[in-house]
Amino acid sequence: MIKFILKRLLMMIPILLAVSVIIFTLMYFVPGDPASISTGGEKVSAEQLDAIRESMGLNRSYIERLVEYVGNVFLRLDFGTSYTYGTPVGPELLSRFWNTAYIGFISLILMMVVGIPVGVRSAVHANKPEDRVSMFTTLLFNSMPPFWLALLLVLLFSLNLGWLPSTGAKSFKYFILPSLSVALGSIAGIARQTRSSMLEVIRSDYVTTARAKGLSERKVVYGNALPNALIPIITVCGNQFGKMLGGVVVIETIFSIPGLGVYMINGINNRDYNVVQGALLVIALMFSVIMLITDLVYAYVDPRIKARYMKSKKKMDYSTDKVVGDADA
């Protein structure tokens, strides 16, 4: 198992390097001149602008700047300084990371704790009114834009009922609405996946055997059927986390939570390359780590997948790719 984890961790390094190259290249092509923006709208002469560009290192070639940026980030964890705030990006990213990760974490837990039981219930009562109602409700939530749902929740719980605060990030109370608004759509996704993969196993022979042995229905469903239905559910959990992370980026602006999303969007509006690059990199890192954990859980649940990584590459069976391929992102 340790060998497998190490192998997967090593595979992440080249991907993250490539990610940082892509991020840098994208930001390199952003229209607009950060030098003139950094003056804050004051009128400056052409020479002064040149001097600012010189000090920001904007007049050097693409390759030089790329190598310097990637080197700084990976060897010294130095993300550069923000053009607009004049502060180093690294520590700011770290403090903002916790807010974003907190929302992501609560949503992830919510998604699994609520989504899987709802799906299981639906599968057990398949095609009965209960199943139809919960499947239609989940589809409805799945079709709502998270930012709109967030605004509706604010309208109901903060403005009308006054139960929860609508802006800020001081205590757990402040994170309930943001987490709920990104999680509801994903709960729906998980519930639907759970239902369909439970339906596949629930009719199989070993479930009938378990029932025949006189196990309680609860034990049959959660002890025998669910573990075997778990693999596609885990895939969808990973994918849904990506979707939620995208949602968090948008939603932070609504709840004015000082997280990576707000930082990135402000950076985009100010043409603040270092800020945007740093935020993107940390978001990609978060997502990669979750995908890594997904893979580890996979390997834990299904020994066949672990065996794939252990064997030499030549023996890798391409036909199994279909099982792992994420058709439902």
Partner: protein, 300 residues
């Protein structure tokens, strides 16, 4: 008189049976027609498209006309959906806005499908080095959540409708490429491809005439599911001010500008969002029914 069975007859005979051929387009269509949810989705979507086309002709108000006397008007007979902060009729804006949201969604999915099919087909068909290089590139793209990548790309391209379409299209491309690749790998070993190779078909002919038509049905499911996601992304990007901007009435843009007035005039936020939800719901319903139609376990 003896009837000579020509090739034409043979083809005609085959056509008549096509709706029974599992996985063929007529078969899928027949199954969709039997599904009430899917029909509801198709009808809702058609209504929205129809309204977006006809809006300028049947509605009394123009979506751009500012009338400060009607500022924040609540829904009434005169203005069924009310008016916004500049007194513009929200009904006209919502209907015209469908053009932007839906065309960004459809355009983006068209781009990601085309690119995805090409990349997946090349990767799956040739295998080897090309395959592993392309797959590593996809790995890197998929290290980002799709919406975040779309935001990053649209930042680089600059704001605008076309750029928004490219950005979302690129961000959703890997899913299609991987799906296509997996399909091709499973088809590549089959006998009819061997036969086509044996009669000396060119590589492009094999890919376009034999391989792609056989991968079409899983792609349809993915297309309809992606339309839902792309629509949501389009709205989210406009909400952030990266897609369509004022005064164009994209639904996300409308919600974004109505946000400040949510306390007193919630209808300005609720109505455009409802339309996003309805169109995404329709795409989801259609996608679900296509998936069920193709699922051998659901066959009656």
């Amino acid at each position: 008189m003896r009837k000579i069975l020509t090739e034409k007859h043979a083809i005609k005979g085959e056509r008549e049976d096509r709706s029974k051929k599992v996985g063929s387009l007529p078969y899928i269509w027949k199954r969709i027609c039997k599904n009430p949810g899917a029909m509801m989705g198709i009808i809702l979507l058609c209504l929205i498209v129809l309204m977006s086309i006809l809006a300028p002709f049947i509605l009394k108000y123009d979506y751009m006309t500012v009338n400060l006397a009607n500022k924040f008007a609540l829904p009434s007979w005169e203005h069924p959906f009310g008016c916004d902060e500049l007194g513009r009729d929200i009904m006209a804006r919502v209907f015209v806005g469908a053009r932007y949201t839906l065309s960004i969604g459809v355009g983006a999915v068209a781009i990601s499908t085309t690119l995805g099919i090409l990349i997946g087909a090349v990767s799956g068909y040739f295998g080897g080095k090309i395959d592993s290089i392309l797959m590593r590139i996809l790995d890197v793209i998929q290290a980002f959540p799709a919406l975040v990548l779309a935001i990053a790309i649209s930042t680089a391209l600059g704001q605008g409708i076309a750029n928004c379409i490219y950005a979302i299209g690129l961000a959703y491309m890997p899913t299609f490429a991987r799906l296509m690749r997996a399909n091709i790998l499973s088809i590549r070993g089959s006998e009819f491809i061997e036969a086509a190779t044996a009669i000396n078909c060119s590589t492009s002919r094999i890919i376009f005439k034999h391989v792609i038509p056989n991968t079409i049905s899983p792609l349809i499911v993915q297309v309809s599911m992606s339309l839902a996601n792309a629509g949501l992304s389009a709205a989210a990007m406009s909400f952030l001010g990266l897609g369509v901007r004022e005064p164009y009435p994209e639904w996300g843009t409308m919600i974004s500008s109505a946000r400040t007035f949510i306390r007193d005039y919630p209808h300005m936020v609720i109505i455009p969002g409802l339309f996003i939800m309805i169109s995404v719901l329709s795409f989801n319903l259609i996608g679900d029914s296509v998936r069920d139609a193709l699922d051998p376990k659901m066959r009656d």
